[in-house]
């Protein structure tokens, strides 16, 4: 009996040691096997927005860790399974599926090939060691943009034009509306969606934005990928109802280089910290155990300072930024489309 007990304890200790050794070896082998990062984007990585920020950030992280960089750009919004299989065969150690349309294909191919993938806007989709999620939201930055818009409007109306209603767009639309109302409760908010997943619909972007401007808005908060260029075209070629200039507030990227004098600001996203943390987790063997976010505190979300923003308003915005970081002003992260729509007619401010 005693011998049996000793034998069992010995077996357990040996097993535990083997497990610990195995886990350690696994983590070591993960780090050693990490050779290349692939990023898949629906449009070209030169759109001064979502696609460019994703590609540039992945490239920067690959360079930092000395990994091969494998970009797959302009894939559209269809089936990316063949591309994912190809990248896996070519040796990708991590495949970043940088579009919500890839959220079904990504995990499937991860299971099939064993290559870890990162998907977006699916926080419930984590699979340890295999699938992680980054549901990014610049809602804190969008709140600041809303305050800026309220201070800038002459007509008392601001517009929000979006190319779809993914969680990231929704949370920023909601926060922008809350920012507007926090600064000026009487300012009217006009909200319009171009179409179902109209990310590349530049003509739709222009048409809807022109309608929103004609309804009174003289500041447009536009979220749209390729359709953003249609919004910008509308802003550049349409007068506000008071005959004056219409301003544009962009998201994610910095379009200063191609601006013709209408870019008031942009809620900039930096995805380097996100991808950096993913690679780090992959090396540590903790990949797929948590999601990733961006925020004001490390400047991965920040407001673009354009020359059109008066100094006093900028200072006010920076004070507000500090309050958000410290927690004295909190901005709700509302990502449900129905809740966002309801918010456009009834905005509650959550301060203090």
């Amino acid at each position: 009996m005693r011998q049996t007990l000793v034998a069992q304890i010995s077996k357990m200790l040996i097993s535990a040691a083997l497990i610990v050794f195995g886990l350690g070896f696994s983590a070591l082998s993960s780090a050693a096997d990490l050779k290349a990062i692939a990023v898949l984007v629906p449009e070209q990585g030169t759109d001064y927005g979502w696609n460019q920020q994703g590609v540039d950030a992945a490239r920067a992280v690959a360079e930092k860790y000395g990994l091969e960089f494998m970009p797959a750009e302009g894939l559209g919004y269809g089936d990316v399974r063949p591309t994912l299989r190809e990248l896996a065969e070519e040796g990708a150690s991590l495949m970043i599926c940088h579009a919500s349309g890839y959220n079904t294909a990504g995990p499937e191919i991860a299971q099939e090939t064993g290559v870890p993938v990162a998907i977006v806007d699916t926080p419930q989709g984590l699979v340890e060691g295999l699938v992680t999620d980054y549901t990014l939201s610049g809602h804190d930055g969008a709140y600041l943009a809303g305050v800026l818009a309220a201070h800038t409007t002459r007509t008392g109306s601001v517009g929000i034009v979006v190319s779809g209603e993914p969680p990231s767009w929704n949370s920023q639309s909601a926060a922008f509306a809350m920012g507007v109302k926090a600064a000026s409760d009487s300012t009217k908010i006009i909200y319009a969606v171009i179409g179902p997943a109209a990310y590349g619909d530049a003509a739709g972007g222009r048409r809807v934005t022109e309608s929103v401007i004609s309804a009174g808005a003289d500041v447009i908060f536009g979220q749209g990928n390729g359709s953003s260029f249609g919004m910008i075209q509308a802003v550049e070629t349409t007068k506000a109802v008071d005959g004056g200039k219409v301003w544009f507030i962009d998201v994610i990227g910095d379009k200063t280089e191609i601006d013709k004098g209408h870019l008031l600001s942009s809620v900039l996203w930096d995805m380097v910290p996100v991808y950096d943390a993913m690679v780090s987790d992959l090396m540590d063997g903790t990949f797929g155990t948590r999601g990733y976010q961006i925020g004001l505190e490390n400047d991965s979300v920040r407001l673009l300072k354009s020359p059109h923003i008066p100094a006093n308003i900028w200072n006010e915005l920076m004070d507000l930024r500090d309050k958000i970081i410290s927690g004295s002003v909190s901005v709700d992260n509302i990502s449900d489309a129905q809740a966002v729509r309801a918010l456009m007619t009834s905005v509650d401010i959550n301060e203090g």
């Binding site: 559209g76 619909d201 530049a202 260029f229």
Partner: protein, 311 residues
Amino acid sequence: MSELLTETFVTALLFGSVTAGVPLLLAGIGEQISEKSGVLNIGLEGMMLVGAYTGFCAAYYFDSFWLGFLFGGLGGVSVAMLMVLFCVILGLNQIVIGIALTLGADGLTALLHHFQFSRTYPRLSAVEPLVIPVVGDIPYLGEVFFHRHPVVYLAVGLVFFLVWLFKRTYVGLNLQAAGDVPAALDVTGVSVRSTRTWAVLATGFLAGVGGAFLANIGAGIFVPHMIHGAGFIGIVLAMLARGHPTWVLYGAALFGVSLSLTTALQVAGFNIPTDVVQMLPFTMVIVMLILLGRNSYLPAALALPYIRGER
């Protein structure tokens, strides 16, 4: 809601609906010509996309909207020539080739845009409209319909020209015979291959002009993938209109108005799911055209290659 209904807002909405409808009209009547002759042109989206790209390049580099439309049409013709080669001459599967052409055009234009415009994103200036005297002064509707680039008037005029062509001319009869009983047309000494070739090239030209309109006037810029399904909607309009050019006109107008209606409902703050609102254009067009088009027909030899002597 009522406070929104200013002349400026209503005019902008209706103006936008016409702008959205014209590319669909051009693509739809183009597809109708092709289908009339028996060629199901699934590559319409690709023709529009190439037309949008070449049309934008011409308008931008030559600073001329007219040259933009011309080159847009020629861009569409270049894709149509491939359709002719593979489907009319070689008799390959029209659906497969059409899909391949669309995918190829999508990739090609995205690649060309990447090398040419992806760092500058040039935009065109606003178009100078041709204002029709007297009717152009009508409140609301004057600006919507009669302050337009001449291509809009030509597109509407083309519908009535096609009605006449299809019903009153030998060209129209030949087209119909090529689509219904190609062997009979062949027996009369008229080349089915030639008839279908010209029909597909005409489709390519009109789709290309439609694409150029979308890029140059609709958006004022070219971005990859920008046709966004307009070509497929054009195919649906043509198929549901079943040989009647005027029904394509109604369908395109209905679609444009529905798009504006979706914007109006949203701007007015109706708190209903966006998906429901945005189904409106598609639902309205399909329901209306199915109701109106029940007694029409599609060509008997549609999508079937013609090989002389083969039964």
